[in-house]
């Protein structure tokens, strides 16, 4: 089919954005080729949560399911930050050389992308967090507002079957969540008592996990292992929601293990085709009447830059990189909690989520029950992290304390800065000879101040819940371990300082669209981005169809 036009739209990347874009296009009658560099995952065989060694496995790696990036030198850590330094009583400090550890960009390649691995929080962005420049003088404004997003949020929530509470404060809704909220786990209720004592809000998190059967998918059985991959099918990962719905239209063709290595320019400010690498090392040319890039905020700018700077007329491709500003704190409660029972991140406090909610620093955050995400699903992890030493005392303490852990997590806004970016590694190449992405990340003082607040409040919440013996804390102050990344193909109205317009279309290339978190002008105050990515992608799809 080399050179032939066989699809109306080629979508690159089958994660949250690509899947939603494909669905939005297919349901309106367009044909879509959905490409992904990674493989298909089979929920029945790839997520062996019935096996005795489930806790030693984590999310599976399959051929081509992990990409390769390099990192620029880590930021020199400024001063002593005892509340922010990563480490545990059992393992000691994570960083001892005074330099931020650039460890990992957590990204799954495959049909479903990182949603296969995600926790499944389904958040709308705070309306004020879309107006950071005009309201607060930082970052950039989104070229659309919450009201324009609302019906797309509804569509995404309906397809996924999001379960959520009646109200989420500033994130107004024209219609309730499709499904009732999940009941809180025992550990979440323990933390809820602490939140109440502090006067903090604490409510059921909105989750892409079914509280009741929905569209042929069963309800969640609260196994707590969302991040290992969901074998049940209740988690709203993109493969069982948007992709399944797109395929059901009969107009979506899926091609796993098909990395796009380059975009070919055409005439009249249009892109002509993508060059796709085959397993045997050969290259296939696929014409693209419309091209939607949805590879995430690292790989989308890499692909554009590696295509001779396509779409980079503003010089902003790869700039404004924002990563996950986070902290998790673990403590021991006098009473057993066994917090991995139930949905991870089942409860949340939005009290400090508005951009002006944290005293003295712009940019919000949220707090949540982090037991499920803290990798303490297994006994071995607990024994080595929570209890220092070895020998009989250690063994007896493990016996006594197993199940007593409580975790609070906080995720906050990271503001863009010129030292944080994605560019092309000057020497490293992939197997097709293309340069791979290099990640540079640097936290500004405002980000560190926000982290300090997040840490203090996490400690307060744990203490108020009765868990005073802190045994570990991990934060992005000294540890780059990003899941949510944003901003590297910023959307905006001005072609001089943004890459795409408010619909995700390149300011210059009329059939080139971006539908992932790289278009976010600001990161939001700690909201999980998948739902917003999907809502934006649905909006982009609608625009493509309308022409």
């Amino acid at each position: 089919m080399s050179g032939d036009v066989s699809w109306d739209v080629v979508v690159v990347g089958a994660g949250a954005g690509g899947a939603a874009a494909a669905y939005g296009l297919c349901r309106r009658g367009l044909s879509v080729l959905l490409l992904d560099a990674g493989p298909r995952f089979d929920a029945s065989t790839d997520y062996p949560l019935t096996q005795a060694d489930w806790d030693a496995r984590g999310f599976p790696e399959k051929p081509d399911s992990t990409g390769t990036v390099t990192f620029a030198a880590g930021q020199k850590l400024n001063g002593n930050e005892p509340l922010l330094a990563s480490g545990s009583r059992g393992l000691g400090p994570m960083v001892t050389n005074g330099t931020r550890l650039m460890e990992k960009y957590h990204h799954v390649r495959g049909i479903g992308g990182s949603t296969l691995h995600f926790t499944g929080e389904a958040h709308r962005i705070h309306p004020d967090a879309m107006k950071m420049k005009s309201r607060f003088g930082v970052a950039a404004d989104w070229p659309l507002d919450y009201a324009e997003m609302e019906r797309h949020y509804l569509e995404a929530e309906e397809l996924i079957g999001v379960a959520g509470p009646e109200s989420q404060g500033a994130r107004w809704r024209s219609r309730g969540f499709p499904l009732p909220p999940h009941p809180l786990s025992y550990a979440a209720k323990t933390l809820g008592a602490g939140a109440k004592a502090l006067g903090l809000g604490w409510q059921a998190n909105s989750r892409a996990a079914l509280s009741l059967p929905w569209n042929g998918r069963p309800a969640c059985n609260y196994c707590g292992a969302c991040n290992n991959g969901c074998p049940v099918g209740d988690k709203g990962s993109a493969d069982v929601t948007f992709i399944a719905a797109a395929v059901a239209t009969g107009r979506c063709t899926i091609r796993p293990q098909s990395p796009v290595i380059r975009i070919e320019r055409g005439s009249d400010d249009r892109v002509a085709a993508v060059l796709v690498g085959r397993r045997d090392g050969s290259i296939e040319r696929i014409a693209s009447p419309h091209l939607v890039l949805a590879c995430g905020a690292v790989e989308t700018p890499r692909l554009l830059l590696a295509s001779d700077g396509l779409g980079n007329e503003s010089g902003e491709v790869g700039q404004n990189f924002m990563d996950t500003l986070f902290i998790t704190v673990g403590a021991l409660h006098p009473e057993p909690q066994h917090g991995r029972r139930g949905l991870p991140s089942d409860a949340i406090s939005w009290d400090f989520n508005a951009p002006d909610a944290i005293p003295g620093v712009i940019g919000g955050c949220r707090f949540y029950n982090a037991a499920g995400e803290s990798e303490l699903g297994g006994l071995a992890d607990f024994a080595l992290r929570a209890v220092p030493g070895w020998g009989r005392e250690h063994a007896q303490a493990v016996r006594r304390l197993w199940g007593h852990a409580l975790h609070v997590g906080a995720i906050g806004e990271m503001l863009p800065n010129r030292d944080s970016r994605i560019d092309l590694d000057p020497t490293a190449r992939d197997r097709f000879g293309m340069p791979i992405a290099r990640i540079a990340s640097s936290l500004a003082e405002a980000d560190v101040a926000r982290l300090r607040f997040m840490a203090r409040k996490s400690h307060e919440l744990l203490a108020a819940s009765g868990a005073e013996k802190i045994y570990e804390s991990y934060s992005s102050w000294d540890w780059f371990s990003a899941t949510h990344v944003f901003g590297t193909c910023r959307m905006g109205n001005d072609p001089n300082n943004s890459v795409v317009d408010g619909f995700g279309r390149s300011h210059r290339w009329r059939n080139l669209w971006v539908a992932d978190a790289s278009v976010f002008p600001s990161s939001g105050g700690g909201e999980a981005p998948a739902l917003t990515i999907q809502a934006l992608a649905l909006r982009t799809a609608e625009r493509i169809v309308k022409g």
């Binding site: 949560l49 019935t50 096996q51 005795a52 060694d53 489930w54 806790d55 030693a56 009941p183 809180l184 786990s185 025992y186 209720k189 969640c220 059985n221 609260y222 196994c223 707590g224 292992a225 074998p231 049940v232 009473e335 057993p336 909690q337 066994h338 991995r340 029972r341 139930g342 699903g377 297994g378 006994l379 071995a380 607990f382 024994a383 080595l384 070895w390 020998g391 009989r392 250690h394 063994a395 007896q396 493990v398 016996r399 197993w402 199940g403």
Partner: protein, 163 residues
């Protein structure tokens, strides 16, 4: 056989105590390097991860053998075992294995605190690898609540105080 061992052997023979004789002969037997490493590592494993409350100790589960077989750990183990034996000798024992439990524990603590090349990483690596293996063993996990596979049943009691 050095003078001290000879005196011990003669003494044992003179009293005719079979147990004493056996212990003395055993102390004189010098195993080959691989066997010596295996004995030391078994002892280290059991000091670090002993069986309490009726649980089996690490060497009973054969976990030290996996460490010895790991190519990545060879250099650390060689260095670490030599350090522990040397430490034991400085404290009047023939080697690490000849120490009692308190002495072995003190030796491992001292290795972890030592600035000598490779000793702290040796203890750290053993803690990580042995500890992970030990607390991942079905025989151990089964003695702790809520350690079974999360599927197919999930946790129906997730809202309740754990049992």
């Amino acid at each position: 056989m050095n003078r001290r061992n000879l005196v011990l052997l003669l003494g044992a023979l003179s009293v005719g105590g079979a147990a004493v004789l056996w212990r003395t002969l055993a102390s004189l037997w010098r195993p080959g390097s691989a066997e010596r490493t295996a004995r030391t590592m078994a002892a280290v494993a059991d000091v670090m991860f002993p069986g309490v409350d009726g649980l089996p100790a690490a060497s009973t589960l054969g976990l030290h053998k996996d460490l010895i077989a790991s190519p990545d750990l060879q250099a650390l183990i060689t260095k670490g075992v030599a350090w522990l034996d040397k430490h034991a000798a400085l404290h009047g024992a023939a080697d690490f294995v000849a120490l009692d439990e308190a002495g072995r524990l003190a030796a491992i603590d001292a290795a972890f605190a030592s600035k000598d090349d490779g000793t702290q990483p040796f203890v750290f690596a053993l803690r990580q690898q042995l500890g992970t293996a030990y607390y991942s063993e079905p025989a151990i996990k089964s003695k702790f609540a809520y350690t079974g596979p999360p599927q197919p049943d999930g946790f129906p009691d997730f809202q309740e105080r754990p049992t």
